[in-house]
Symmetry: none
Subunit: 182 residues, 2 copies
DNA sequence: GAACGAAGTTCGGTAAAATGAACGATGGGA
DNA sequence: TCCCATCGTTCATTTTACCGAACTTCGTTC
């Protein structure tokens, strides 16, 4: 896979995922339409600055443009889960998720305020999302399978279907781990 | 951090790590020495093909050139970190750590009480520990480089040296992500 | 049906990235 | 000491990525 084809597809994928037109993205990124058009066509050979502008306009991390791209959910409430053996009673650990080979896990801190729902378009096939609520209350999950989580709860669900995030308390802080095929 | 400076450092870091001279890398990658020289100097604005050639010549995955990858410790306080742009002001996300290929990340929830220090023996070479404080205050890190963290803080450090965990508040809840070579 | 706006695709001009040769600096080896 | 290989940098030239405007489609509206 040539890197240009990779990026061409990534740009197109992320753009459509974001629901933006080519013209709109070009304007947002401060690029010429023609530039974007050629990039998505797999022609051209974009520079770093160009890619940076695109990633910014799309609201995605820079590295997303280079990604090649069990449908079960797991919910572990505070106090649930099997503890990992520890010598000290003042130190209890619970394994929430072990990492299968051939996967990558990107870690995000996400702050949410009450009143708006963030709908996320499906991520690439095989993506999992691990959500840990640090503070506040949130409602997250696949659109028809959302869970209400309190501080300390852990929830895992598939990210390759439409899903949503919503703060139920005034503010909420969650750790989001995007788990995708390597 | 401008992406060009990021890449400039990444190229230099990976090249020296590989023990290659600038000239040798240029020849191997099929680029002009001058091109590489300027790139490492933080001038220039490389194209994808140029970066691809460099990554290939270095024998590293393409994405390595975009990593913040200081294998040392990284501390991101609440409110710090470069946010991922979002259309919604009520939803802010920060990328704390992207996942390099060939690594596994196990996720733990850890509860700590005040009064005892947990000393951890070194883990296998190459292990990283990601610590996110959900509640309370903790002191963690390599024994001579501990950091005091408040709720919401994120801290990453190498786990292949002796390190310790200690709760500074009555209770503390942290998410621990053990990041080890696959 | 004509008129309009927004979609994405070509096409010359220009700023700039990549080249290749020349440069001074450094370090062995004969 | 001299020679010469190799290091990384600098500079004129060539190549090309990006821009802006013109163009083609495709829906929508009057």
């Amino acid at each position: 896979m040539t890197p240009i084809a990779l990026i061409a597809r990534a740009i197109h994928r992320e753009r459509t995922k974001a629901g933006m037109s080519l013209s709109a993205l070009a304007k947002q990124a401060g690029l010429a339409k023609s530039t974007l058009s050629q990039l998505e066509a797999g022609l051209g050979n974009p520079s770093v600055e160009t890619l940076w502008a695109i990633a910014n306009a799309l609201g995605i991390p820079f590295s997303f443009l280079f990604e090649t791209a069990n449908p079960e959910t797991t919910l572990i409430r505070v106090g649930e889960g099997t503890p990992v053996a520890s010598d000290s009673s003042s130190f209890g650990a619970t394994l929430l998720a072990n990492c299968p080979p051939g996967r990558r896990r990107d870690i995000y801190r996400t702050e949410m305020k009450i009143g708006s729902v963030r709908r996320a378009e499906p991520h690439p096939q095989g993506t999992l999302e691990h959500v840990f609520v640090a503070a506040g209350r949130v409602r997250v999950g696949p659109v028809d399978l959302t869970e209400d989580l309190n501080a300390g709860d852990y929830f895992r669900f598939v990210g390759d279907v439409a899903h949503s995030y919503e703060a139920l308390s005034e503010k909420a802080l969650v750790i989001l781990i995007m788990d995708s095929p390597a």
